[in-house]
């Protein structure tokens, strides 16, 4: 108690200096925590967007389909499998799909793409492909052969709404199948895999094209949340044995997002250490100055019998108090900032294109996880405490006689 009071008294001797140090600690900490929340928020959004855009949370195939993508690898026991998945309580919705590699072309030229056959009612419940159709319309399900293509692909093929394109692919029986389709809608998703290398037709039409009857290649599943993915996979292990089926989480299909997140995490952690070290040096400087000004007083305290260890703990305690006040300030500030921007969002004007490339909308909503705060504070306390041992040690090493007669 006395130690705390004494530390506070000593810190209030030079109120301005202590206040500046506390502010430096607080602002530095708040800035880092906020930065972290900002990055976490944008990664969170990337993840959400990727699953919304086209992967869903989990995809189920026949074993080996992801690698080979050949038409005959249809999902075995389809009706039973669909039923089992539907009845899992974690599942919100599912969409059956066909999928194959195809050539799309006009008389002038052709391109290789992934052709997906989608269930027109089920697909919008799992992904937002329907919403990405910004020109023309979504597939109608009528008799006519309709196709959706990405806008980059449309530009390259020099086709527009209503124009005819020809699809060629290898059917289940190994023969080459081809049909003409009319462009019904153009997709602007911001993600190249969709905008340049994809085309969508109705599931029924693709089944006809591929000669696979009612069979399907893929089931895209939306769960209540991403957190349920592991649980869902476990639930399904026995129903979908790995010798006949494969189950892929969204981040196995698009690993870039998680890789990007851990990359920027590593950067923030490096910055964390660097910034904290700078702050710690500031704190150390404050304490060093305050010790210097009190040299004589510390000498007197030593003469009265204060041992080197007690001097160390007194000065160390001062550092801790200074740090503690700064940390409280920093955490408070960080939460205020995060709460504010969570509500209004941070508009990244000028970065829209780059953001779209990486599955992000240009409005970022920071997301603050408590363990980020904890890590930041722990790093700060560790580094500051370590660096501040130096002034404490210097003070304790002073010879009392010299300190007392110091002027």
């Amino acid at each position: 108690m006395f130690l705390l009071k004494f530390a506070l008294l000593n810190l209030t001797r030079n109120k301005r200096r202590s206040a500046i140090t506390v502010l430096a600690v607080g602002i530095g900490l708040a800035a880092l925590i906020f930065l972290w929340a900002f990055m976490d928020g944008s990664h969170e959004e990337q993840r959400e967007n990727v699953t919304r855009l086209f992967t869903g949370h989990v995809q189920i195939h026949a074993a080996g389909f992801a690698k080979k993508m050949s038409a005959e690898l249809v999902i075995p026991n389809r009706p039973e499998v669909l039923e089992k998945i539907k009845s899992n309580p974690r599942v919100v919705s599912l969409a059956p799909r066909s999928k194959c590699e195809a050539l799309i072309g006009t008389t002038a030229q052709s391109k290789g793409i992934v052709l997906t056959g989608i269930d027109l009612d089920a697909e919008p419940l799992v992904t937002d492909i329907k919403k990405q159709v910004k020109e023309g319309e979504f597939l109608s399900g009528g008799e006519g052969k309709e196709i959706l293509i990405g806008h980059v692909l449309a530009e390259k093929l020099e086709v527009g709404l209503g124009d005819k394109v020809v699809l060629m692919t290898q059917a289940m029986d190994g023969t080459l199948a081809g049909f003409a389709y009319r462009v019904k809608g153009v997709i602007h998703s911001g993600a190249l895999p969709l905008d340049e290398y994809s085309a969508f037709i109705s599931l029924a039409s693709s089944q006809e094209l591929l000669g696979i009857d009612s069979d399907i290649h893929e089931i895209a599943v939306r769960l209540r949340s991403r957190a349920e993915i592991e649980g869902f996979k476990k639930d399904m292990q026995t129903v979908l044995p790995s010798d006949s089926y494969e189950m892929l989480a969204w981040n196995e299909i698009v690993p870039e997002v998680d890789q990007w997140a851990s990359y920027s995490n590593a950067i923030i952690q490096t910055m964390l250490i660097a910034v904290m070290a700078v702050i710690a040096v500031g704190v150390m400087n404050t304490i060093l100055m305050s010790i210097f000004e009190r040299t004589k007083e510390i000498g007197v305290m030593m003469a009265l019998g204060t041992g080197p260890r007690q001097v160390v703990s007194m000065i160390f305690f001062e550092t801790l108090v200074l740090e503690f006040i700064g940390i409280i300030l920093g955490i408070g500030l960080a939460y205020l900032l995060v709460f504010h921007f969570q509500r209004v969002g941070i508009l990244m004007t000028g970065f829209e294109d780059a953001f779209a490339e990486s599955f992000m909308s240009p409005v970022v909503h920071p997301h603050l996880a408590f363990h980020r705060v904890l890590t930041s504070v722990k790093t700060l306390v560790l580094i500051t405490s370590f660096i501040s041992l130096y002034p404490a040690w210097r003070a304790a090493k002073m010879e009392p006689v010299k300190a007392i007669y110091h002027s």
Binding site: F6, E297, V300, A303, G305, G307, Q310, E399, I404
Partner: protein, 226 residues
Amino acid sequence: MALVKIEGVSKVFKEASLPVQALTSIHVEIQKGEFTAFCGPSGSGKTTLLNLIGCLDRPSEGKVHLENEEVSSLAQGKLATIRRRKIGFIFQDFNLIPTLTVRENIEYVLWLQGETESLRRQKSKALAERFGIGKLLSRRPAQISRGQQQRVACARAIIHKPLLIIGDELTANLDHKTGAELMDFIKKLNREEGLTFLYATHDPIMMERASRVVRMQDGRIIDGKG
């Protein structure tokens, strides 16, 4: 048995560009209950010697014994423990800790010793009343007079009942009347409680009150070895 025994002690300050020989082959003994003045011209080594006796500094040569324990070669931590238990310092310019109240200044050593708050309060209150500063306990050093500050410094030096009290020029910054009062007060403590008191002074009036006078010159004791 002598309370303090100084054997062949020399002190050289080496930090300056030229080494300074502050003390040369000092032999002296202090008995329990003495009231001894160290006098001599400026620079004769009084402060240096008192600091060695008070375990505040270590000699370059020779031995210092306190209650038969050789203290001249102990580490700073051990010396601090001895000062905390056995020595009371009263400094020339009082050196109260400015951020602490009068009470906290007086209680400081008890706090170092780990005494409980209630015991500290009880002792500091009783002592402050004896010194006539009982009403000033919650003030800060800057809010009391120099004479009062000196009493606080005295109270702080004796609250833990040390074996030995050391006062370097302790009345030099006080007017004559206040200085004389203070000396009388300490003399009373010396008589009543058998406190050993050593002080350095230039002032002839202060020397008169001593039961023994040690005269120094050029780092040597020239008279009063006892």
